[in-house]
Every structure is written in C-alpha cells, then in structure tokens.
Amino acid sequence: MKPDYELKPAMKKMQIQSLRKEQIKPIQSILKGHDTIVSAPTSMGKSLIYQLPALVHTHQLTLVIEPTLALIYDQVKKLQDFGISADYLDHTRSKSQEMSVLAALSKGSLTFLYVTPERLQSTRFQASLSMCDLYMVVIDECHCITEWGYTFRDAYLQIGQFIEELPRKPMVFACSATIQEHTVEDLSDKLHLDAPKWFRCDLTRKNLILMKKDLTMEDRSLENRLYSRFKAVKKAVRKYQDTGSVVIYASTIDYVDALYDYLSEYFPGQVVGNHSKMKPHKKEKMLLDFLTGQRKIMVATTAFGMGVDVPDIELVLHFNVPLSMVDYVQQIGRGGRDGRKCRCVLFYEQNGDDQKIFASFCKKSQNSKMLKQRYQEMQDFVHSTGCMQQDILAYFGQATEKTCQKCTNCAKERRK
C-alpha cells in the first residue's frame, strides 16, 4: 500500500521514506475527515499518523493533547528540528511567552500546538482557540481518559465538552497502545465522536522477553524484605544490562529515591531519577542525561513513561506490581524500541507489601472500586500460569494461539 500523493511533501519535510500499512490506513481516514481511533503497539509510530495529515493542512491548527510535559517537550522539539511550526503552552511559560503563542494562534501561523488537558479549561485559551481555524484535535495516549479521568485528572473527562463547545467541530484523532475493546465505546462517547473509524494493529512485541520473579520472604521486618528486593534489582541490572539503558519502575516516590540512592552506590554516575516531586531543573537535567545516553539507569514512578523514546532500553524492571495492566503494558512498551531484545522483569511478592501501597492509593482515590478491579486484573496476570504475552494480548482483545516461548511461564512449561 502506497501513501497518497498529497502526503509526499509532508513526508519529505519529516524525512520519511516510507510508511507502514498500519499507518497508511488511519492517515487516509483522517484525510477523508473521519474521526479516528488507533490502537497500535508501542514504538509503532503513532505520532506520524496525525502529524502527516496535519502537515498537509499546514495553514490550519492541529491541537495535540498530551498527558505529560515530558511528552510535549519531546514532540515539540522533534517537530521544531524539522522546521515545522510547533509550540506548546504549559505552566513554565512566562506571560509574555504565552501571549506570543496565543498571538501566533490568532494569526494562523502555528501548525501544531501541544497542551495538557488542564489547559483546555482556561477561558483565555478557549477564547483564543475559538478565533482560529482548527483542523484537528489529537488526544495522544487516549487511554488516559478512562485510566486517569475517573481518578486524579478529571480534566480528561472535560475534553469532550471542550470539543463540543467549539464554534466549528474539528476532526478528532485519538491513539494509544493500550485501548481495550470495551473502552472504545466509552472513548467515543466521552469525546463525542461521529461514527469513528477504529484501527487496531497487531499488539505483539516480539522483542520483549517477559519475566516475573516471586520475592516472597519469611522475614518479618519490612526493611529486610525491601533490602532483599533492592539486592535483586542490583543483580538483575548486572545480569541483563549490556550496553543499553535500563528503566526501573517503582510505585512510590520514596522507593524511587531510595532505589536511586542504593543503585548510585553500585553504579556511580549511571543512575538518574524521575518523579513528580523532583525540582523541575533537576528533573529536566536527569531526563536529558538519560535521553542522551550519558546515564543509563533510570529509576522512576509511573510519571515517566508514555511516549519516552529512548531506543536502546534493554531492561524494564518493575520493583512493585503496577496498579493496572495498562500501566504495565505502557511501561514495558518503553523497551526495545530499536528492535533489540529487552527483558521486562516484574517483581512480585505475597507478603502484602505491594498490597499496602495499593491500599494507600485506594484511600486517596475517589474511584477505588475501579482501581481495585484493575489491580485485581494485574494480580490475575501476575499469578497466571499461561503465556504472559498471550495474557496481555487477550486483555486487549487480541486472540492468539501462539505462545511466545520466551516468557517465564513458557520457559517453565518447556522445562516440564
């Protein structure tokens, strides 16, 4: 399948030779003016699906809603490097910078504007947007609508209303690697989509080797149990890291800091951290060090993840069981983006330590019932004896008979 002729200049601008079949179909849907939803595996190149049609309509604005600032900075930088008119609005921008972005909006000189969903609630922003020619609204990582909207970012639930209130309804494009079959309807409903076209790609990531490790201990002291987990992290990093990078996910900021401290002793000058409480300049520096490969080990909370494009990650380690399957799949999706083999090691235990962390999250949440359900799904996955890859695909509604032959459960089965 060949891309349309009208895409050629846009592809040239972004220095792209060819597109995948899975990318062309949704691009055509967008160019035809349909609301579109794309579910594609991590590292498939989802961003291009909306960027190319937006570049075809370069005189109109494409508004992109991203969940994290890291993602915004990354995307805007990439586009600006290609000489494309792209900018962003966030809390770090001064009033004068914000005014100049809004002025560019009203002049129609901006092709891409990146924001977080919270920005849509600003009346000044709404007023500026109502005056410009809006081609498309993109909701990147749209699973956040159902994942976070009900818990701690209700701004996600207001996106639909925002689109509805625009003077002329633009086309809507939503994409994610983790859309479940039953959430498509919910998404379509929340975003007020008109008969959206849904494109689902094969979600299998063949280069990810899924592993899990039971760290249940009889020791009564939590400190000792944690210490043994810390040692297991060190061991896994030594075993699986070759020349590439490592990402270690922990559930709490405290664990991230403690792991950062601990690992810095054994891997001096190699470790960086990332969580929401870190001071912006420090966080930025650490992120940059990791993205540029100066430091190879990243310890982070869930805040670090979606859209982070470090090609050489060869180990993704979960220090705690993630809160949901979506989190888990998003996080392991950071690995092996350059096609190399990536080990995804999941630590779990039956002492109830992770359960306690989950309970504390539940207490803070307004929708604990949904959180519990998701956590249970994750627990079912952890304790399942079937192929881990198959379990993940089944969770997202993709049936496959082939087992991966590489995960912990498949390896166990082979040894029998």
Binding site: S221, E223, Y227, D254, Y255, D257
Partner: protein, 342 residues
Amino acid sequence: MKIERGIHTFSLTAPCSYHTIQELRETQSHYVRKISGARLTKIISLNKYKPQGVEILLTQSIDHRSWIRLIINPSSLCSGRYEPLALFQAEHADLKQIHKRLKEIIKELDLPMKLKDFKLNRVDLTRNLYCKSSEEVKVRLDIFRKSEQLPHYKEKNLRHKSGERDEAVDQPLYANKKNQHSWTTCAKNCEFSVYDKGYELKKQHGITILSSILRLELRISRQRLQKLAGKGNWEDQLHQLSKDQDKIMDKFLHRLHQDFPQVVHREEAFKRIEKSSFQKRTKDKMRELVKKMSSCGSFTAARQKMGLSKKSFIQLLGKFKKIKISPIPLLEKFVRSSLYSE
C-alpha cells in the same frame, strides 16, 4: 548555693517525606549519624545552624515515617551565639523572637512544612547548681547516684550511644570514664540526668569555666509532655512548662528522695537523730538507714536490706524530713560539715 533554673534545650518535630530529606541531603552539608543494618534507615545531622543554637536531625526511613527534628538551644538562638550555661525562660517576647528565627531557618532550607506543623517533642527542664568546688560537684553527683530506683526507670549505660540524642552526656567520653561525671536514669518518656557541666564543656567544646556547676536535667518527651503542658501549640506548651518547671522538677526530686534540705556527715546525722523527739524504735531505724545508705548503692537497695515495705520506708523518710537532713551521709573525707540544697 546559687541555683539557676530554666529550659536548656527543646526539640520540635514534624513528619516529613522521604523525598524532602533526600533534597536536603543533596543541598545541605550533613553527616550520617546512624544507619540501620539494612542501610535503608538513616539518621542524618545538619550542622549548618548549630552555632546559632539549632541542630537539625533527619530520620529518613523507607519502612517507617520520616521525620525532621529541630533541636533548639533557645538561649543561643536568642543571643545569636553559643550560650552553654544560659537557661531560658519561655516568656512571650522571647518566644516571639525564637518563632521568627525558626521561620527564617525553615524558609532558608526551603522546607515544605510550616512552623505550626511542628510539635513539641522534648523539653529539658534544667537546673544549674553552682557548687563551691569541683569536689562538691563530685560529692553531690555521688549523692544522686544513691537515688530511689523508680519503677519503669533504668540507669542508663552510656556505653551505648542512643543515636538520636544530641546531649553531650550521651557522648562516649563519659562511657570511657565509667560514668564518673554523670548519672542518668531514664524511662520511655522521661530522662533525668545529673552531670558535671564544667567537665562536659571542657571535653566536648574545649571551653573552661571558672564555676563548678552540677547540672540537673529533666528531659520530658512525647505523651508525658502533653500530660504536663496540655495540648496547645508548642509555644503555649513551652510557656506552661516554664511556668511549672519548679513544681515538676521538685516533684521528680521528691520521687528520687533527693529533696532533703541538708546533707551531713554520719556522726552529725546520728547526733541530730539522737536530739530528736522520736521514739527509740524509730531512732534505731533511722540510724540503721543512715548506716545502710553509706554502704548501699541506692535507697531501694537499703530498703530491701532493711526488709521494710515501701509505705513504712516512706514514713521513715518523713522523719528525716522533719529533722531536715538526708539519710545519705557525706563521705568522711569530705571536709565540709554539711551541704545545703537550697
């Protein structure tokens, strides 16, 4: 004898996130005071404000709550320089000054909590007894060693450092000298310490003072503090404790049986007993107690040797109160005939 009374140290504490401590560790000069076996819990000391009278202790733990503790020498904080002997009276004007200074420190450190989030964790009610000689200090210290052993209290072995304490008496210098210059008894929420302040200053800070000072410190902490000072904010609590300090200290000394007005030699004690109007049987018991007190380590040991119940022992001590002498006799080699407590 000249006696000074007041608060020497108090500490304020607030829960703190692991991350806040991490940030402090990265930005401030510090040293790790204690580390747990698994190395995941640390007690860290920031000394930046110590010359101004504020030591900051951080307890960073992954499995328990993390804390920040401000250990404040209020006299030093008010004057802006180290005041080892000054004792603080918590009057409103001074408290205001302390409040202002602490607020500045919190701001300088960029701590996420406010001063009102801190709770009073410990107060050292202190008395400086100005003795005539260092020998008198030693003699008085020996008298304190013979105090009643209170239930739930244990004599502190200073060979084991407590880690979180800031007091000089916790330092190993006393441990090496077999506690020659200090005596401490402690329970969960209260600690009473008697020590030679001159010796401590010389060894710890290299400061020589001309006076011979015996310091009595009653360190009250946690629930006990709330019981004595009420549930108000830390400034109100400090003010209340400062107001009630004599009452609290006297009550504690009474429990230790250290509230007798005069201490005399054995012969003098016998003379006074003989002169008294008590019955012969009582006089015999009193004499026996004086003898036992010169040989036994404490009131408790003497009572047990005499086979007396606690009630009758207290009654017997009451007789000593009437003749205004302590049952603990002065050592023969001590040249002065008597020591007055007031």
